[in-house]
Amino acid sequence: MVTNITNLGRSGLSDWLLQRVSAVVLALYTLFIVGYLLFNPGLDYAAWSGLFAQTWMRIFSLLAFISVAAHAWVGLWTVTTDYLKPTAVRIGAQLVIILAIFVFLVWGIILLWGA
């Protein structure tokens, strides 16, 4: 079996499944947000912040942000391993990507619970 030390699940099958589960979560979150905005055309701050004050919405959002992190890593890992052949360039790009994912995750948690 070919093992790789930089992919998320350490196994292609694990990554394959993670990519699909996270994709379904993100599709549901996207449809929910787009649907909410479409059905609330005159949205104001009270309703918007009220939605994100609900526990279920914070959990749904956190699940979506974690899914973004996993999905982006599997996807960008695939892209970087396909196109960036020199090891130093590839590892460098992957380090930048993982740092950005970490920042987005922390940012997401702070915006959900920090305010």
């Binding site: 996207t30 918007w48 994100f52 973004v68 982006a72 996807g75 892209v79």
Partner: protein
């Protein structure tokens, strides 16, 4: 593997079938969406921070041409990426996994995405 086999990796001389183009577009839109997370997180964070922040985001989306363009661009990338993703899930379920099915699904992906992109444009403007 026989290393003397002729290899042509000059992409400009290769004619890509439609499923290859939608596959590449799926990757490109994925990269665009990752970069676009900066704008999405900024908009969400600012709009939730205070009534003033909410007004700033909704004002930008209502009047700022550049903000509208970014919103439409990201919605378009998201629409294509989502539709192409659904196509992937269909293939995982063994639906239409033939040469003809692959071309047909790629055509449907393009048509559905174009419709959604136009609708997104109508929504933003």
């Amino acid at each position: 593997m026989n290393s003397k086999r002729p290899v042509n990796l000059d992409l400009s001389t290769i004619q890509f079938p439609l499923p290859a183009l939608t596959s590449i577009a799926h990757r490109i839109t994925g990269v665009i969406l990752f970069i676009g997370l900066v704008f999405a997180f900024w908009a969400l964070d600012t709009s939730l921070s205070s009534p003033v922040g909410f007004a700033a985001v909704s004002d930008a989306l209502a009047h700022n041409f550049l903000a509208k363009l970014i919103a439409w661009g990201l919605l378009s990338a998201l629409a294509f990426h989502l539709v192409a993703g659904v196509k992937h899930l269909l293939m995982d379920m063994d639906i239409g996994v033939t040469l003809e099915g692959g071309v047909k699904k790629a055509q449907i992906t393009v048509v559905v995405s174009v419709v959604l992109i136009i609708l997104a444009g109508v929504w933003v403007w």
